[in-house]
């Protein structure tokens, strides 16, 4: 009898121990009362699936077709300009012996910069545990990929002989193995951009696989079923898979973070390694990175505001998300502003007449208008985001972000053209005037960007469902 009691006693103790062990294991994190829910509190898991996967299953709206038509016609203009360039030569651009780079490289740097927000959101904010990234990372990453594609076209197109672009890859050849110049920043660009594109692509795809599985499981149409079945790689949500998936996601985030820094740093090396006054400045790497994230965030915000409106995603991409993005725009914009000031200061501090001349020429030379557009849009405009009113009123956010994008395009234009057009020997000074082909390529790159983004919206879940489901429980606790 006693033994039985002792057994019961032991069993009870055992039960209590077990329960406390279970409690310890299953304890979920506590959140500060100051934290507000990220997503509309009424959403449940199935709502997320229906809201987001459902978007793909309905036919495209009229608005989508109109936008698609518009972007596609811009893209056609770009294609015409590209054919013109390749057929007749770079002479169709407005370049000359003094200004060897202008619109082409400006567009390249601009788009690469835009391409920095996506990986920043998915990698850096991931590492910093910023959960609000989950609603925006998918579309931001897609934007990154598309922007990098837009950017990647320009270095090839701007070559005199674009059909030989593969010469910048190191491969054994019949020229006694004449390799490539590993000291050239353009070569670094090739490595940086191809790595960045590859890693961003696999990162984006990795995040997409579970969502593609959702789309697969919901698909009724045969073609869609095959499409999503192939892409979702038999994903079944097993914890074993999730566990490794999370590790790799973390690894990729840890890799992508310095990668983001490196890519625009390397792009900045294109300029900073040279000895053109106005190009050679050691602050360029961090300054370009900040500028890239700055313009990228402005572009994500510009894209997401209409997307959330048209696709009814206000519950997922809330004003709080926009507010946070504005804050990052403010931070990076301030770094950009600080870099402008540093450049000005050091320019005068250096006492180097060439440096001083470049600054004065930018402020008052033939391209002063571009400089002041750049300065006001990038250094002053984002400062408005200090005020909450500017971070929460959607039309204001949208207009400021568009201005930032304009400013960042002009920043690259100013850096490239004003430095080149008047450098060391006044005898070679010249003016750059863009041609129709230049403008066509600029416009065409926007066409490609929007066309591809609109296609993305129709093919893939625009919000990372699996990650959003993971942060829903704030609302439920």
């Amino acid at each position: 009898m006693a033994a039985v009691f002792r057994d019961i006693e032991t069993v009870r103790e055992e039960e209590i121990r077990l329960q406390s062990e279970i409690d310890r294991i299953t304890a979920h994190p506590v959140y500060s009362p100051l934290r507000e829910p990220l997503i509309d509190e009424s959403k449940a898991c199935s709502d997320v699936t229906n809201d987001i996967s459902g978007l793909l299953e309905r036919p495209a709206s009229k608005g989508w077709w109109i936008l698609f038509g518009l972007s596609f016609s811009l893209l056609i203009a770009g294609i015409v300009a590209a054919i013109n360039t390749v057929y007749f030569g770079i002479g169709t651009w407005g370049l000359n012996k003094t200004v060897g780079w202008a619109f082409g490289i400006t567009n390249f740097v601009f788009w690469i910069g835009i391409g920095h927000a996506g990986t920043f959101i998915s990698a850096i904010l991931y590492l910093f545990g910023q959960k609000w990234r989950t609603s925006i990372n998918r579309s931001a990453e897609a934007m990154t990929l598309i922007a990098v594609m837009c950017a990647g076209i320009f270095p090839i197109l701007h070559m005199g002989r674009p059909w030989l672009f593969y010469w910048i890859m190191p491969y054994p050849n019949t020229r006694g193995s004449l390799w490539v110049n590993f000291r050239s920043p353009l070569l670094w660009d090739f490595f940086a951009i191809s790595t960045y594109f590859t890693i961003s692509l696999v990162f984006w795809y990795l995040g997409l696989v579970p969502d593609l599985a959702t789309a697969r499981d919901r698909a009724t149409n045969k073609a869609r079923k095959i499409f999503y079945t192939v892409l979702s790689l038999g994903w079944n949500g097993s914890n074993r898979t999730w566990s490794r998936y999370e590790t790799v996601y973390g690894v990729l985030a840890a890799l992508a973070t310095p990668l983001v820094l490196s890519v625009h740093s390397i792009v900045s090396f294109d300029f900073a390694t040279s000895l053109v006054p106005g190009w050679h400045s050691t602050i360029f790497p961090p300054y370009f990175v900040a500028g890239a994230v700055f313009s990228g965030f402005a572009m994500v915000t510009t894209l997401l505001i209409p997307v959330r409106k048209v696709m009814h995603l206000e519950g997922y991409i809330t004003v709080q998300h926009l507010d946070n993005m504005c804050k990052i725009t403010l931070l990076t914009g301030s770094i950009v502003g600080l870099s402008y000031l540093t450049e000005l200061f050091i320019g005068f501090y250096s006492g180097n007449p060439n440096e001083i001349f470049v600054i004065l020429n930018r402020m008052g030379g033939p391209y002063a208008w571009a400089y002041w557009i750049m300065f006001s849009c990038n250094a002053f405009i984002p400062q408005l985001f200090w005020f909450k009113a500017f971070r929460t009123r959607i039309p204001l956010i949208l207009s400021l972000c568009i201005l930032v994008n304009v400013g960042m395009w002009f920043e690259r234009f100013v850096i490239i053209v004003t430095s080149l057009h008047r450098d060391y020997l006044p005898s070679s000074w010249a003016i750059f005037i863009p041609t129709l082909t230049d403008v066509g390529l600029l416009v065409g790159s926007f066409g490609l960007f929007f066309t591809a983004f609109l296609i993305f919206l129709r093919l893939f879940p625009v919000i990372s469902m699996n990650e959003v489901k993971g942060v829903l429980h704030y609302a439920r606790d």
Partner: protein
Amino acid sequence: MSLTTLKILMILITIIGAFLVWQSRTFRIYGDQLGYEPIQPINFSHKLHAGDNQISCLFCHSSADKSKVAGVPPASTCMNCHSQVLPDSPEIQKITAAIAENRPIEWVKVNDLPDLVAFNHSRHVTSGISCQTCHGPVETMERLSQQNAFTMGDCVSCHRTHREVTLDEAGKPQIAREQTAQKLMASTDCSVCHH
């Protein structure tokens, strides 16, 4: 993927690979003319002249040691001998006719380099490189064919292996050493060929 699919795939890859290796000469890079053997206007045999009869290359290609180009001999060079030797042969008749009509014989150029390469015969011949090094065993050919792909790699590998600069005590390069034909000062500067 089942094991069968995998096997089939492996076999396919092997077959295609083997075919590519076997037929590797079929897939050439652009500009590779190795083995080019055009029909010439006159059925001239290098084997007969340079091989069997041991006529020196420089006898006909007389500018090879003096000038950039080796030179195609004028028709009159042929007639130095052929006015006596086999003057009635139909092939020789063609030369005679060309001389009579005062027109050149339209030889088809076999060993040709693109215009972006400057090759100087005299430099190579003077430093003792035999014609066969680049042109192959011409003395065995009935009809001339290209025996070297003349890729940049071919030139460069030779220039590199013969890159020996001898310096004297004062540190000056000893130019006289060149004439021993063993020590060449083959430069690998791009501008040596590309200008």
